[in-house]
Amino acid sequence: MSARPAIRVRHLWHRFGGMDVVRDVTFDVGEGEIFGFIGPNGAGKTTTIRVMSTLLEPMAGRVEVDGHDVTLEPEKVRKIIGYMPDHAGVYDRITVREYLEFFAEAYGVPPDVVEVVLELTDLKKLEARLVATMSKGMKQRLGLARILLHDPKILILDEPASDLDPRARIEIRDLLLELRALGKTIFLSSHILTELADVCTSVAILEKGRLVVAGPISEIAEKMRARAPASQRRPELGAPRPAGDARPAVVTAGGVALPDEAQHRVKVRIIGDAHAVLRLIVGGPGVVGARVTSANQLTVKYQGDERFVADMVRHLVAQGVSLVAVEPERTELERIFLEATRGELQ
């Protein structure tokens, strides 16, 4: 029998004024998962998250966090979760350390925890800096540090990378992966798919208050492929890694292992024989699979970030391949999103 889900949302409804903003939403978030909550602006993501965080009471349905009903036991739920709202503010005229010490005191945790969290979130070197003078990315990092103080089992992050520059996004992503490695369940909402594609193990897609699809990315993709007409089905590039595969996992710049789901495709156009190039690529580090799509074009499925593409290009050029173009293909998540939603709000 499967373990109890970390978060269980069942038939959740919520209404503001005369408008149903969340309608009969049901999904589970498994323990240790990085769960992506996707939907366009106004889809009802923040309302669902606020219910999960005990800030709103569901009008109908039930939400349980680690087995505790958010309506009936909000105090217990608050001890289990760390919630970072979107566009959360920070206190001015206070240093990073003072900020964390304040929240440590408020959570009732020993002050030495601040030291640990400063190290974990790489904020130690900024501890004496006034919060007001920090960049958005650093403030977001500080927000993450704040919600880690009481060592919550579940982190609920509402649009954590919105308004951040690419570097800050990558840093936040790496931090999330580190936290997952520490055993945290992470519930992450966003309307930016690339933000989630690298890290999520499961997703739920919300549109106009209704849940469109939910579950592990690979399962959803499989179901969608099965549902699609045979003529539109595309062959898989590579089988998922079998259990016990000893190959080293792909790691990010920060040395954090990416989950298997963080796979991407890239289209490679060349002058010459695509099959010859295929032989140069298959079996290389990070390559999950590859196939020839036309006489001078092939698609490569890989696990990792842009460094893989750079390495592959360098390798092919060194082997004398005449490269014309290298274009990223849509991620699995992007395809799922486009196929599952009607895009009425986007």
Binding site: T54, L55, A60, L72, Y83, I94, A106
Partner: protein, 556 residues
């Protein structure tokens, strides 16, 4: 080395909100400049007043007294404006700066947050008083006031500052927007502070009458009264108990309002305010009755009833924000904690609130009226009998109109989803009822070419009862019984209308609560059904898996 044990209060956990706000305030660069400017301006004004007075032929003691009153008047207005402005910043800023949710989810209780916010805002305002203190010592150079008077005046200033800070905090706790919070508190402070100051001055005449040693017409009279009035029942009643209640009851109200606003909508936001109302209504009714008995005049009871009626109106406005009934969260907490009938009666719910306020309010009206009638009966003269009749008119009208207000408010709340709509409609209705009938009476009088019975048209206005009481009271014979009968009929009509509205509100609330309970039951049943199905599926899968394993192990 053994450490020295600290006293328990100091060794206890410091309020983290207070410490954090103090740190932030310490880094605010403009504070010293503001304090310096206020102190310099006050010193300049005092010097100017002192200088002008020295040129006229008044003694140094007179100059000292004038400086004393000038200083504390300025300090009063500084505190009245700075207190609410500083505290209005606190919670609204958290909401606007989007730090509030993070603070709330730490598990700090609303009372800890409110106390931290209050203490930090109060510390800031106290800095104003402390920085002004050296200027306040200037009158000592001239005499005319004693050191005890100055110290007591500072104590009064600190108590007043606490009230203004508590008021600002209560407004701030309701507001989402910082600017709106500051504007609202400042507007109220700008209007209210001079009114309170004026009332204070007018009270000096009563104080002088009671204790001739207390100078007449000077604004800072309370410290003088403390020092100069002879100790006795009047001293205890008017200088100890009354000021204590005048400070404690509003402070408690502001505190409960702040807590309610800091508490989640689905939590219990009602019990604290209801407790405050219960205690305040009882204390005020007993105080009014004691004052009536002390004065020996039935007419004082009528005045007390009028003031008490305004308190009941405040209560009605407060309870217009009650939810229709307790939320699931509150019901679950009641079950968990085994809440008794009293706890539940004081809990959320518009009908609970209305019933409590009706019982307590009508009880208070009865107590004050009984005191007035007792005083009237002891006299036995015809004048006192007419005073008692006047009191009965006011009491009947107060009771009837209060039943209407309570019932009407409950009905409005039961019919609307918002908490502001019933309050606005109640305010409009109250305004119309108070003034409208008098306009009708004026038009009626003008149309009939004379006054005649046109004032009877004003009977629906509660002011009419006061007019009739003024007409009847103090006379030795009945002037015209028609006005008394009309006032009584109007009071009865208001009461009936209120009861009808109350019944309609109760039905509506019952229907809403029933529909909510049914929806919850349906939801629970659906979820239970799903759970049962999931459990059955798992059991079936387990059984299949066991069967397959057995088949694999089987020799065949």
């Amino acid at each position: 080395m053994s450490s020295i044990p600290r006293p328990p209060r100091l060794a206890g956990r410091q309020n983290p909100v207070f410490l954090r706000e103090l740190r932030q305030s310490a880094r605010l660069l403009r504070t010293p400049f503001i304090l310096m400017t206020v102190t310099a301006v006050t010193a300049f004004v005092l010097s100017a007043v002192g200088g002008i007075m020295m040129t006229s032929k008044v003694g140094p003691a007179e100059v000292g007294r004038a400086l004393h009153h000038t200083f504390f008047s300025i300090a009063y207005f500084v505190v009245s404006l700075a207190g609410p402005t500083v505290s209005a910043n606190s919670i609204a800023q958290e909401r606007e700066g989007r730090t509030w949710e993070a603070l709330m989810l730490t598990g700090l209780s609303p009372s800890v947050i409110a106390r931290g916010k209050f203490t930090s805002a109060y510390t800031s305002v106290a800095m104003f008083i402390v920085s002004l203190a050296p200027v306040g010592a200037l009158p000592f150079l001239f005499g005319g006031v004693t050191a005890i008077e100055v110290v007591l005046a500072f104590v009064c200033l600190f108590v007043g500052a606490a009230l203004w800070v508590a008021f600002g905090l209560a407004v701030s706790s309701k507001m989402e927007n910082l600017r709106a919070a500051i504007v609202v508190t400042l507007l109220v402070a700008v209007v209210t502070a001079p009114v309170i100051y004026g009332v204070g001055i007018s009270l000096t005449f009563a104080a002088h009458k009671l204790w001739p040693a207390v100078p007449e017409g000077w604004p800072v009279w309370l410290p003088s009264a403390y020092e100069r009035a002879p100790f006795g029942w009047d001293y205890v009643g008017y200088l100890l108990v009354a000021p204590l209640l005048a400070a404690a009851l509003p402070a408690w109200f502001f505190y409960e309002v702040t807590l309610a606003n800091l508490t989640s909508v689905t939590d219990d936001r009602s019990t604290g305010i209801r407790r405050w109302f219960l205690v305040s209504a009882t204390v005020l009714a007993l105080g009014a009755a004691a004052t009536t008995v002390g004065s020996g005049l039935a007419s004082v009871s009528a005045v007390m009833l009028s003031l008490y009626a305004w308190f009941l109106v405040l209560g009605t406005f407060t309870f217009a924000g009650e939810p229709i009934g307790p939320s699931r969260r509150v019901l679950a907490r009641w079950e968990r904690e085994g809440a008794g009938a009293v706890d539940r009666a004081l809990g959320p719910g518009v009908m609970r609130a209305t019933t409590t306020s009706l019982v307590i309010g009508l009880g208070g009206v009865s107590v004050i009226t009984a005191a007035g009638l007792a005083v009237g009966a002891l006299g036995g003269s015809a004048t006192k009998a007419m005073d008692s009749l006047a009191l009965m008119v006011v009491a009947t009208y107060t009771a009837g109109f209060f039943v209407f207000l309570a019932g009407f408010t409950a009905w409005l709340r039961a019919r609307t989803n918002s908490v502001m709509t019933p309050r606005i409609l109640l305010l409009v209705t109250l305004g119309l009822v108070l003034i409208g009938p008098w306009l009708a009476a004026a038009i009626g009088g003008a149309m009939s070419g004379g006054v005649g019975h046109a004032p009877l048209l004003a009977a629906p206005s509660p002011i009419y009862a006061l007019v009739v009481a003024a007409e009847v009271g103090g006379r030795s014979a009945m002037p015209d019984v028609t006005a008394v009968i009309v006032a009584s009929v109007a009071a009865g009509a208001w009461a009936v209308a209120g009861l009808v509205a109350l019944v309609a509100a109760a039905r509506r609330c019952d229907a809403v609560i029933k529909a909510y309970d049914e929806a919850l039951s349906r939801g629970d049943a659906l979820l239970a059904e799903e759970d049962a199905k999931a459990a059955a599926d798992v059991a079936e899968m387990d059984a299949n898996a066991t069967g397959e394993a057995d088949a694999t192990r089987s020799p065949s």
